[in-house]
Every structure is written in structure tokens, then in C-alpha cells.
């Protein structure tokens, strides 16, 4: 199968088209803009529609409308724009609508900068909008995964009737890498017998997110809780790299996970048993990856923020082994040697850098 050299953002656009995305609503923001540009060029040729909304609030609500008809639909943005989508995300979760939302994380808070960052982890995984909901969050670490995960996100969204977030960053989105344009085997998905489209020949349908009766409100919330629990049980995913016999584990996702792989190899070369856990689903967080910590003397979590995923790592580890944290901020990336040095420091290992 052919490989193409593409920007990460373009890989997302191409995967969306091939996954049957029919509508894209967006508003430009660096470093996500190539997604709306790519789709503006290619989606109409594939029989779809791209509409540039007046802002991110409009775009996510256009997605909401299109999703109620059962069509596959996507939007993409970067941090400040993703913030504006939070109102809509909460409504999507409540109305149980499948929409794929890409967040090419830039730095923050505020307008921030354009470099790679992981500062939106809390916002994506803990429910950035109101009301307490969960959504699937996938964290790619290279071009191929941006492509594969985007395709899969549409299936997951349809299967669970839920928004799915692809959390990328400015580094992954802008870098060019070879991407194999794989076809996915068609997943068995439930029929969209809830979608609106005119009630001719059937009973009227409604799609909405509200109930002003407390009793019904509780029933709805229990339904969502059960659904979140099912997703938590069945969806946890991560990559283990030399983790089986590891005495020291690095935990990092996306760009950090990618850098940490080289660190593991460097450390192994020097005889230190270092391994990597790279979370792929950020929600549900892969707690199962930390079920067995026999022989693990400590964990170093590496992130591009003030410390967000480290809280989930600590919850999963439940004090069974010490957890340390290393970060870079504002668009800077940690070098391999810098992480190696930190490993040596916190675990008292005589590493050479």
C-alpha cells in the first residue's frame, strides 16, 4: 500500500475523508489550520461539505446539528478555539451525539504560543465543559497514528454515541512524515435509529440534552454513568516499550512518549532497566497498565505542562511506587539527554549523558 509524505494535520484530514466524514465545520487557528484547509480542498471532491463557521461556537454547534441527522462529522481547532467548543461538547455528550473533535494543543494559558504543549490534558479528559461528562480522548504520537486514530475515532464515536477527541500538538500537526493510507476493516456499528431526518412513515423523533424533572434527570445521569463505566472497562489502551522487566518506568503520551522511547533505548544501552508506558487513550486513562508494578522501583512522568497526567498516574499507582515528574513548558521540548539526566537524578543512577 502506498505511503505518502504528509503533514500530521493533513493525515488527519485524509483519514477523515476515508472514514466517511461527510461534513466538516471549522474556524482557522494555528497550528490546526491545515486541517480545515486540507478538507476545504479535498472533502467537496469526495462528495462532502466544508463550512467555515463564524467562530468555534458556531462550528461545534453546526457539528451538533449535522450529527443529529446521523452523518459523520468533524471539527478541529487548537487550545483557545477548543475552549470555545466546550459548551457544545457538553451538549454533544448529553444529547449523545457522535462527533470527532481534533485539538492540536498549543501552549497556554490564554492566547499562549504556537509550540507543542500538553496543557489541555485536564480540559480534554476531565470534561472541560459543564455538568460532569466523559469523552474518549486519543493521543497519537506520530503521523501514522494521527491517520489511524482519526479513522478509528469515527467508529468509536458511532459505537458509543459520544464525542471523541484527538489530542495532538503543534509538533505532531506540523511535522511531515510518511503515512501509509491504510483502509480499515469495516466495523459493525449500531444503526442510527435515533437520528432525525423527517418523520415520514415513522414516529416523530427528538434529539435533545435536557430534562427539567429531577427524577428523569437522575435516570439520565445513571444511564451516562453506566456508559462511562463501560467505556472505562473496554477502551483502555497504551503502548508498552521494554516495560515487562523494567525497574524504572517513564510515562509519557504523544510527543513526550515519542521522545521517551529513545531515552529508554539509551538507558538500556547503559545497562539500566528502563521501560515506557505510553498512554494512547487519555480517557479512559489506562490504569490497567499499572496493575502489576512488581519490581518497579519508581516512575518518571514526562509532560509538557505544569503536571496534569501525573495525577492520573498517581491514582493508578496508588502509592505502590514513587512517582516523579519532569516537564518543559511554553512550547519547549525536553531533550533525550535531559530526560536521561532526570532519571539518573531521581533514581540515583549513574547514567552518562
Amino acid at each position: 500500500m502506498s505511503k505518502e509524505l504528509m503533514k500530521g494535520n493533513e493525515a488527519i484530514g485524509e483519514a477523515a475523508i476515508r472514514a466517511g466524514c461527510k461534513l466538516f465545520f471549522g474556524y482557522p487557528i494555528t497550528p490546526s489550520t491545515e486541517i480545515v484547509e486540507y478538507l476545504s480542498k479535498h472533502l467537496p471532491k469526495a462528495g462532502g461539505t466544508v463550512l467555515q463557521g463564524e467562530d468555534e461556537v458556531a462550528s461545534i454547534n453546526m457539528c451538533y446539528g449535522a450529527a443529529t441527522t446521523g452523518a459523520r462529522v468533524m471539527t478541529a481547532s487548537s487550545s483557545p478555539g477548543f475552549s470555545l467548543k466546550q459548551e457544545g461538547m457538553s451538549y454533544l455528550a448529553a444529547a449523545e451525539l457522535p462527533v470527532v473533535v481534533v485539538n492540536v494543543n498549543r501552549t497556554g494559558p490564554g492566547l499562549g504560543g504556537l509550540g507543542p504543549s500538553q496543557s489541555d490534558y485536564f480540559q480534554c479528559t476531565k470534561g472541560g465543559g459543564h455538568g460532569g461528562y466523559r469523552q474518549i480522548v486519543l493521543a497519537p504520537s506520530k503521523g501514522q497514528e494521527l491517520y489511524d486514530f482519526t479513522m478509528e475515532a469515527f467508529d468509536l464515536a458511532d459505537k458509543y454515541r459520544t464525542p471523541v477527541v484527538i489530542l495532538s500538538d503543534g509538533f505532531l500537526g506540523q511535522m511531515m512524515e510518511p503515512v501509509e493510507l491504510k483502509k480499515r476493516p469495516k466495523a459493525e456499528l449500531p444503526a442510527k435509529d435515533w437520528a432525525v431526518g423527517g418523520c415520514k412513515g415513522r414516529a416523530k423523533r427528538k434529539v435533545a440534552s435536557y430534562s427539567l424533572t429531577n427524577e428523569i434527570g437522575e435516570v439520565n445521569n445513571l444511564h451516562w454513568e453506566a456508559k462511562f463505566a463501560e467505556m472505562k472497562d473496554s477502551l483502555q489502551r497504551w503502548e508498552s516499550f521494554h516495560a515487562e522487566d523494567a525497574e524504572y518506568l517513564i510515562v509519557g503520551y504523544g510527543t513526550c512518549g515519542r521522545i521517551a522511547k529513545s531515552v529508554v533505548l539509551k538507558a538500556r544501552k547503559q545497562g539500566f532497566k528502563v521501560g515506557l508506558i505510553r498512554p494512547i487513550t487519555l480517557w479512559p486513562f489506562p490504569e490497567e497498565a499499572f496493575a502489576n508494578l512488581d519490581g518497579v522501583k519508581g516512575i518518571l512522568t514526562v509532560e509538557l505542562n505544569f503536571g496534569q497526567m501525573v495525577e492520573d498516574v498517581k491514582l493508578a499507582v496508588e502509592c505502590r511506587t514513587p512517582v516523579y515528574f519532569h516537564n518543559r513548558l511554553g512550547g519547549m521540548l525536553p531533550s533525550e539527554n535531559e530526560i536521561l539526566r532526570k532519571l539518573g537524578q531521581v533514581f540515583d543512577l549513574a547514567v552518562e549523558v
Partner: protein
């Protein structure tokens, strides 16, 4: 016995929950009749806002989607772009369309989105208890303008249909009222036209309708109609504010 008057087929059997004397009910009925007469109930998707009109999704016999406050027109855009052959309409209050949803209201019109919007203007935020709306009349007392709306401080009322009429994508804009039988008949004509414009794929259509809120105005239903006539009719220009040549040729 032969039935000579009943609910139009465009409405479900559910009794309205609107306050006594509130003209939301009259407007619902008119739309229900139009849906039936144009024979589009089975092809129509309505979008409900937040506000008193938010429960309209139960009252119309067609498919319905509940949107967030102010977002009905963005949601309708998404539906129409996904299903261009269906009839899509929004039913919104003045707070929804002229306050929180202003950006969307301007841009659906600018894009000439092929949807129909109905704006129910009762000069207050009804559902939340009668606060000031952008459509509140100068001097009008509301819970957030307890000394009367001071236009020097908070601006003058927005005449939304007039504003929307300036945009090229809006091909039909009408400003109506349901205070008298004559005006009710006229409103229905405009509503029908607004749906026909969409069926013909001509562009965006808006019908704004002056309506009462006896509960929040603190007036009887009859006095509410009088208040509307004395206070709202002089401020808001009535009539078909914009009818493009294509619409005239319909």
C-alpha cells in the same frame, strides 16, 4: 358529529404548557397549520432554543432537535447542510436570537442559509423571569432594569428583522404581530411564505413576531395585548421588510 375545528396536524396532541394568555400558543398553532397545509410535516426538522419556546420540540408533530441557548441557527445550519432536501426551521425567543445568538443570527442571514427562522419577540427574557432583553423598550421595567430601561446607559432596542434585512443572503424578512385577528391572519401568510421560500431554495427567511408575556409583564392577557399595541408597535417597524424579486415571483 362532524368535527369542524381541531388541532392542526402539524401539532401533537400534547396540551401547551405556556402561561394563560401567552401568545406563544397562537404562534405554535399558525406554524402547525402551515406545516399541514404545505404538507411538509414528514419532511421537516425543527430546532428548539432555550427559553419558553424550548419545549416546542414536544408540541410540533415533526422531528425536532433541542439546541443550546442561542445556538439554534448554527444547529439548523448543520442539519440543513447534512440534509439539503429537508425543511429546517428554528423557533426562537428574542433573547435567544438577539442576545446570546446574535453572531449566528447575522451569519445565517449573510450566508443565505436555506432555513427559516421564527423569532418570538416579547421584549423580555421570559423563562428566566422577565429580565431585560435587547428588545426591551426604552423605559420598560424588567427585573434587571427595575427603574426602566435607560437607553443612554444600556442602548436602544435592537430591531432584529430590520438588521437582518440588510444582509444579502436574507431574501425574505417579515415583522408581524399576533395582537389582533387581522394581524394573526397576516402573520400566518408571512410564515407560509417563509417556508415556501425555503422550499424554493431561495435563501434565508426570517419572520419576527411580536408576542406577549403576561406573566412577566405583570398584566392580564387582555392588558398585555394593549401594552404590546401601545408600546411595541410604535418601536418596531411592521410588515414584509424585505421581499426579493425571486421571492415576489414565487
Amino acid at each position: 358529529m362532524q368535527r369542524v375545528f381541531g388541532r392542526p396536524k402539524g401539532l401533537t396532541e400534547l396540551p401547551f404548557h405556556y402561561c394563560p394568555g401567552c401568545t406563544h400558543g397562537v404562534i405554535h398553532r399558525l406554524i402547525g397549520e402551515v406545516l399541514e397545509e404545505l404538507d411538509i410535516i414528514g419532511d421537516t426538522i425543527g430546532v428548539a432554543p432555550v427559553g419558553c419556546a424550548g419545549f416546542s420540540l414536544d408540541f410540533f408533530a415533526c422531528d425536532f432537535v433541542g439546541a443550546a441557548h442561542g445556538r439554534a441557527q448554527a444547529v439548523a445550519t448543520g442539519i440543513k447542510r447534512a440534509l439539503p432536501d429537508k425543511v429546517v426551521f428554528t423557533y426562537q425567543g428574542d433573547g435567544d436570537i438577539a442576545a446570546i445568538g446574535t453572531a449566528h443570527a447575522i451569519h445565517v442571514a449573510a450566508r443565505g442559509e436555506k432555513i427559516t427562522s421564527i423569532m418570538v419577540n416579547n421584549a423580555v427574557f421570559g423563562m428566566t423571569g422577565g429580565q431585560m432583553a435587547p428588545t426591551t423598550i426604552g423605559g420598560q421595567i424588567t427585573t434587571t432594569s427595575p427603574y426602566g430601561r435607560d437607553c443612554a446607559l444600556v442602548g436602544t432596542p435592537i430591531d432584529m428583522p430590520k438588521t437582518v434585512a440588510t444582509l444579502n443572503g436574507a431574501v425574505y424578512v417579515a415583522a408581524c404581530s399576533v395582537d389582533t385577528p387581522k394581524n394573526i391572519i397576516q402573520t400566518k401568510k408571512c410564515l407560509k411564505k417563509a417556508f415556501q421560500v425555503q422550499q424554493a431554495g431561495l435563501g434565508y427567511a426570517l419572520v419576527s413576531i411580536l408576542s406577549t408575556c403576561p406573566t412577566n409583564w405583570g398584566l392580564s392577557p387582555a392588558d398585555s395585548l394593549k401594552w404590546l399595541q401601545e408600546n411595541m408597535l410604535p418601536v418596531y417597524e411592521m410588515g414584509e421588510l424585505k421581499v426579493t424579486e425571486e421571492v415576489k415571483a414565487l
